[in-house]
Amino acid sequence: MPRADRVRPLAGLFALTLVGAALGSVSGAEPDAGTLLRESMQAPAKISYVGQLETVRFASNRANANIVKIEHLAPSSTRRWFVAPDSLYGDYIITRGPASYEFDPKHSVVTVSRNPVFADQVTADAIFDRAMTNYKCVETPSDSVAGRPTVSVVLMNKYTGERVVRVWLDRQTHLVLKREEYHANGAVASQMRFEELRYTSSLPEGIFATEAPAGYKQTKGRDYSMPTADIDKAIREAGFKPYTPKDLPQGFALVSGNATTIDGGVRTLHLVYSDGLRTLSLFENATGASPDFGTLRPRTVQFSGHDAQYVEDGPTTLLTWNEHGLHFALVGDLLRPELVEIAKSVVP
């Protein structure tokens, strides 16, 4: 056999080995940004930790901050002690699955609330899939957070190119260590970050005890309703013909709704719109019930001949108005002009 013929199979084998090695290195590389995000969703169910968490929500003219000491026992027990603001100092919340127990030592009260969405993994998965449809995940350079090396992922809206959320994931555990949400104008709307973090496997179950201490009064808090994907059923139960927005930001879709009776017999329909990252709520009632703003300070904005009222709660805006014999309330983490544009299309 000529030498060249003997060398050719060897060269082919060598090339195959190189390709194999390259593929091996790909499969052994870090997962892509989307996979990292999906794993970050599962992280709290697998790892326990203690730390200090700071959350700041920015409004147009002020910021709200809260700082909590946090202890988390996988899969679903969490205790949060408030360090700030002053008005909540010393209060703590124990969350076990969908139930939350708010301990208020100043008034010796335990308030028990229930939010079923915390236990609804199926819906959470569906929302995540929707986010992956509407957003592009981009891995970006990152630094350390709470002394831990991180991987940073930016979620960019595929239609507008806007950066909407950025998360910093622990490079080892994929727990979300820092999260920033942005307004359409690029300003930071809210920020959450761990100031301290230590992983542990030795948290005693007893610190998540939910029994009211001696001398405490236990009261029932809110039982949040579980919206249904059966929108027609929710509308039938509302008992009136609702109006829905015709003009939503791209990617948003009606995902759920529910009809409930609140505050002295006001039958209210709640429709929930989402693009997977941002949520928009539209409330309607046909009883003429207007909003009681309490200590909130509403301002007036005019559109389509309506005097609407709005308040800003951190990054969240609430816009209310009356039209066609119905009262509407629109709530979302969107800027006021964006909400007004949506409101204009509710009853065109």
Binding site: A63, T78, Y224, T287, A289, T295
Partner: protein
């Protein structure tokens, strides 16, 4: 992070419009913070300067002119009987009757609300319910705090209002805002 009082908070403090708890906190902070005390004093000086200017420009209305104006008003006022009689002139009575008929026609659909007290829905209900649904987002902060902070803080501010709405309230929030602006 430096903690300072923002301008709105200082002005409310200056005018005694803060709740007692915040008032005490502001007082304590001003005792220990030269920067904020400086701003407070500047604000107070500005208010005093404006009041002084206003007082200096205050003019007494000449008493003779005032008396003359009142006399003319009294002379021009018609008697009560003539005022009542004028209401029944056709030029007034016919349009008034027409407006009343039209108003009754359009107000009829609202009769269902008549006799029942006006209903209200707490704005916090909307904010809390929205926050509760938002917590479903797996890429959001899946904690109960967003919704429950609203209720938790209510006990301290004496109303079902949220932290932001404690109207400029939580000192930490104000201080953060002040830091951002400095």
């Amino acid at each position: 992070m430096m903690e300072h009082l923002n301008n709105d908070f200082l002005i409310d403090y200056l005018h005694g419009q803060l709740p007692p708890e915040d008032d005490a906190l502001a007082h304590a902070h001003l005792e220990s913070c030269a920067s904020c005390r400086g701003e407070y004093e500047a604000e107070a000086a500005l208010g005093e300067a404006l009041r002084s200017t206003a007082r200096a420009e205050e003019l007494e209305f000449p008493s003779m002119i005032a008396a003359e104006i009142w006399q003319q008003v009294r002379d021009a006022r018609p008697s009560l009987a003539s005022q009542l009689a004028s209401l029944f002139r056709p030029a007034i009575a016919v349009p008034v009757a027409a407006v009343a008929v039209v108003a009754l026609y359009f107000a009829a659909p609202l009769a269902q609300y008549a006799g029942t007290p006006a209903k209200h829905v707490s704005a916090n209900y909307y904010l809390e319910e929205h926050a509760a649904q938002q917590a479903q987002n797996p890429l959001g902060e899946r904690s109960p705090t967003a919704a429950q902070l609203i209720e938790s803080s209510a006990a301290d501010i004496g109303n079902a209002a949220d932290l932001a709405a404690a109207a400029d309230a939580p000192p930490l929030a104000m201080m953060a805002a002040a830091d951002a602006s400095r």
